[in-house]
Subunit: 323 residues, 2 copies
């Protein structure tokens, strides 16, 4: 049987170093990792993850539940997964992905859950192992999310600063915390600017927001900006404006929300609020592993600040009408 | 210590049944699984995946490498991951996802690798554990893919059947097997129809194909159909045609390739060749687990047939010009 000492000898490093590469790869340079892994492969050495798991009465597995219909959200979750995987691999954890309405709790050390709707919380409350939710919630569960209110504030403030007369919020027709927070950000900035908030909500599909605007076109005169709760909604708004032959960004401004994939596929490209979803995933993973290590101790929540990305669906600063 | 017998007693089933739920969940009804998992959770029973792994000298972990830049392909890989996860979870395997140019082989029982370019094969050839590639290759590695040639044939044949005079293939500017196969399918059908193949290649970005068509607009008279090697390319072609104010699908037809997400976000929605990517992922997972079980025995390849999805960027059958 090949031992850790054999690997250390082959790689010409100390046993301590080999152990660190295995147990705390995040503390080690890539070069050193390469060297040690090469020696491990040459010798076919298998560090005893399984033995360790057994000793600790752990599985070293985390399950990630996506409760939302995957087809509507794909690009988003891929980035989240990457972040989660990164955090887990640092601690020799691996992942099981559960989607498409399977509620199979299976065997693992803890859960990351996302895409919850109100009706899911009853089920979640009965889970006995550590759980971290991705997405803000009002029920006291530990969670990670972007600062949705701040996102709403950022985009609204930007639209106003560009001189658009009317700034409308196009929200997602869901009674969920993240949506309320984005709206709250919008409302707060509008009120601070002594403007009246105007909110319309649609299903989170580009065809729905497109339809909404087609039907209500007269309500929105030139010099209106649409602050949207998702890039999907923003894409539909963009299409409806283009159909009418109106100019983006001079006649109408659009700001999306998410900043993953979709914003860059459309033309003109969307000004949007970007969430660093991979980073959020990483934080989810770290928080869950801490919670497991601390035997289920409450972790609270962590909000990451979103970022305004200025592109082609909003005027340049100063207001192009005057320039 | 809670035993399997305790779980059986609590769930009021035989020990055999509990064992089957744990080791062969795919052979068991969802109801039975629910019952047994509930008992396991109540008793806090942890089946000895770790012990089993240890006994077999295995990790029960599979690593999935995405070698391609993630930002360009996100929606696609999410579905693949779902399929892989499904196959792994059936056999109590879990997943580690490796992306963004990390080549950290780490510790696991085998690898699924995708997004390979020619320069990656040297590295892949040195991996000593079982490997399955997602994506056809010419180097003799076991792989899973859609039947790319058939996909090219399907779309070309459909474009011709709709009465478009000129059918052009807009390919991806990569010297890779999947691209060559799609082109081969196009060429074969064109030759069978005694038409001259006409191929143009661009980078796989909508803005690139859009630019290409803008620059070469006079080359493509009305009644041309563009058979594209990806939906990204098709989206750019659609935009360029719309800019010129030409009619889709009467003046120009467009057929994409992939059928994931992007095809439905644009307007008009793309006629496309759909790959069942989740199913492909499942097959990758199954093939790799077989290979691990069979101590690295060669598995060959498996091609899944793609499907033509008829939408709004192609005429209705019979050719609308004549109707």
């Amino acid at each position: 049987m090949v031992t850790l000492a054999d690997v250390a000898r082959r790689a010409n490093v100390s046993k301590m170093t080999v152990s660190r590469v295995i147990n705390h790869p995040e503390q080690v340079t890539d070069e050193l990792k390469k060297l040690v892994f090469a020696a491990m492969h040459e010798l076919d050495y298998r560090p005893n993850v399984a033995a360790k798991a057994l000793a600790k009465n752990r599985t070293q597995i985390v399950k990630f539940f996506i409760l939302e219909e995957i087809s509507t959200v794909e690009p988003y979750y891929m980035n989240l997964l990457l972040g989660i995987s990164l955090a887990l691999s640092r601690h020799q954890y691996s992942l099981q992905l559960v989607a498409n309405n399977s509620f199979d709790l299976g065997v693992c050390d803890g859960y990351i859950i996302t895409g919850m709707r109100k009706s899911d919380y009853e089920w979640i409350s009965r889970i006995e192992k550590p759980v971290i939710l991705f997405g803000e919630n009002l029920y006291g569960y530990d969670f990670v999310d972007t600062n949705n209110k701040k996102g709403g504030m950022l985009s609204t403030r930007y639209a106003l600063s560009l001189g658009y007369d009317k700034v409308v919020f196009v929200g997602i027709d869901l009674k969920e915390a993240f949506e309320y927070s984005r709206e709250r950000g919008y409302i707060q900035v509008m009120q601070e600017s002594l403007k009246e908030p105007e909110i319309v909500r649609v299903e989170n599909h580009s065809h729905k927001s497109q339809e909404m605007l087609q039907k209500n076109w007269e309500k929105y005169p030139k010099n209106t900006a649409f602050v949207c709760a998702s890039d999907r909604i923003a894409v539909g708004i963009e299409r409806a404006i283009q159909e009418k032959g109106a100019n983006i960004p001079d006649d109408y401004g659009i700001i999306g929300y998410d900043g993953i994939f979709l914003d860059q596929v459309v033309s003109p490209r969307l000004t949007t609020i970007r969430q660093d979803v991979a980073k959020l995933g990483e934080i989810c993973g770290e928080m869950l592993l801490n919670k497991i290590e601390q035997k289920g101790k409450k972790q609270g929540f962590k909000l990451l600040d979103p970022m305004l990305v200025k592109r082609e669906t909003t005027r340049r600063k100063g207001g192009s009408e005057k320039s």
